[in-house]
Symmetry: C2
Subunit: 338 residues, 2 copies
């Protein structure tokens, strides 16, 4: 059975059956013209929206349907994490092609609902429409943060140290491997594919960095580390020097790129989809950072330093010591070459 054989209210009921019970701050939920919520006392509101479009961001032939739902929410939660915000609610706008099966639809919604439950993010409403072709998933998420605990891209100063969470390059390599899998039996690294399909938004780290006032600037790596450091440098008015040897590049990604004759460092810093956080800290703020690090899962790696600038450089070992090369531009998911 196809999802388009159902009425709108049947589809809504299918979604609702996969959601957690409504929280007490939700006064009017799914089923009216709009959702009504009581605001969170004494906190600012943080809002973001991201779209996943079939054929641009994912391919239904190779990506498990629950991963599509997971990613659609994860990319938004990652944006909240980068601001130091705690997720609260989501609105779900779906454009459904005629050939989508009910099983596939349920798995997409299930993947999103499972991640939402883990991050206490309630789906309060949305929109359903047909699509003339691609599957469309547009998710709006709001969260809350205390005054003076907001992390922006603009607070880094010369001398601040640059850190990144987790490892780099796994998701980008995973996407490449997923595309190769059409011709191979087994991807080069199931772990990299997993990281592409099910990115783990660093919500808890972002909250702690904001709460401790440990970070001076922060953003997420949706478009890769190179893009991230360029953006922080521009917004903060500083230069940044990254130590290539300090980068926590995922070892399977490093091997895979090297086997294909690519420079693993350049390939990993220009790949998107990592959804790690890059942030800057005052050198004397290391105690605060340690507090955030101790209580939380992913590793935090120091990868560079902010300079009076301008310019973002990548410093590499060389025969005669080291040399600095310009940081390549970030991954651009928008530009069309034609």
């Amino acid at each position: 059975m196809h999802i388009s054989d159902l009425s709108e209210s049947e589809i809504v009921a299918r979604i609702q059956s996969r959601l957690q019970p409504p929280p007490d701050w939700l006064l009017v939920g799914i089923g009216d013209d709009a959702a009504v919520v009581a605001p969170a006392r004494g906190r600012l509101e943080v809002l973001t929206v991201d779209a996943l479009v079939e054929g641009i961001h994912f391919d239904r032939a190779v990506m498990p349907p629950d991963a599509i739902g997971h990613r659609a929410l994860a990319v938004n939660l990652s944006d909240l994490a980068a601001m130091g915000a705690t997720p609260r609610l989501a609105l779900l706008s779906l454009g459904l092609p005629a050939g989508l099966s009910c099983g596939e639809f349920d798995a997409i919604v299930g993947g999103l609902a499972a991640l939402a439950a883990r991050h206490r993010t309630h789906v309060v409403g949305g929109n359903l429409t047909r699509s003339p072709g691609p599957l469309l998933i547009d998710v709006t998420v709001t969260g809350t943060v205390k005054h003076r605990r907001v992390l922006t891209r603009a607070g880094a100063r010369p001398g601040d140290e640059v850190y990144v969470t987790g490892t780099l390059g796994a998701a980008g390599a995973g996407l490449g491997m997923l595309r190769e899998t059409a011709t191979a039996h087994q991807p080069a690294s199931p772990a990299c594919v997993q990281r592409f399909c099910y990115p783990e938004p660093r919500v808890r780290v972002g909250e702690l960095l904001g709460r401790n006032q440990a970070a001076t600037a922060c953003m997420d790596l949706s478009d890769g580390l190179a893009d991230g450091v360029h953006q922080i440098a521009r917004a903060s008015g500083v230069g940044i020097e990254i130590d290539a040897d300090a980068l926590p590049i995922e070892s399977a990604a490093r091997t895979w790129h090297a086997a294909a004759g690519r420079d693993p460092v350049v390939a990993s810093v220009t790949a998107g989809d990592d959804y790690e956080l890059v942030f800057t800290c005052r050198p004397k703020g290391r105690g605060r950072l340690r507090a955030a690090r101790l209580r939380e899962g992913p590793t935090l790696t120091r990868i560079g330093v902010c300079t009076p600038g301008p310019g973002v450089v990548l410093r590499r070992k060389a025969a005669d010591g080291s040399r600095a090369e310009p940081m390549p531009p970030g991954y651009s998911h928008f530009l069309v070459t034609n």
Copy 2:
């Protein structure tokens, strides 16, 4: 020049140049990972999202680009109006096909920005992506409303009178005329086409109905009057009897439907896209209603009454007095016949 020849930051700058200056409650706007806003004191928050998908909701060949932008925001403002809420901010998620010209893009954004300015709705952020085919516009809007001033669909009681704003059927007929215009020089009624292209969300009426506590239930007519009264009846647990002769059907729509051999009443109540409000009032609440009416533009017409139910009926004049027929189901924009 095509919009896809520009970088993401150039496109964002193009959008920003068309927006009003940022309000003081916007603490972090376009350009960071997410927007940060100060909440409106002592008010609830109302949230809604709606998508316009090319080929489903509009046809770029016949609809002016500024009308596409206008409609994309208007349908959301109409949802807020139905809740009695005052609009505050919007997030704009765009999926852009390769062939979209910069002029067309600017006009779409201009149409949206002009309506946003009129309703003091600030665009605080959004998302840009390529689309593999259709132009995609997904708008999220939030507004605010005071406690106990929220209008839902669920408060109607037997004996309440049913009202509608403005006129019915104009937009639906306008859409039909627009499709015919490909073969005719001039649409049958430019006024109907105008109503389809540039729906006027009844924001002020909704605010006044909520503020006066004049209405017991309310919704907007995105899917037509028949759908609206069915939904209120279901949510409130009442029946509704509508007087066909009282319906304020747009005269040009009536003429156009009759000329094509259609029943103008059935055609007008089942057509979507009117974006008027249907609402219910206690009979002794007429004073409050008059207060809302006096200060505002569109006519308010009494069209029926709530009954102990169940059932939604359309009462028509007949040779022997009158007869009640079942209200047809509403316009369904979702169901796919295949």
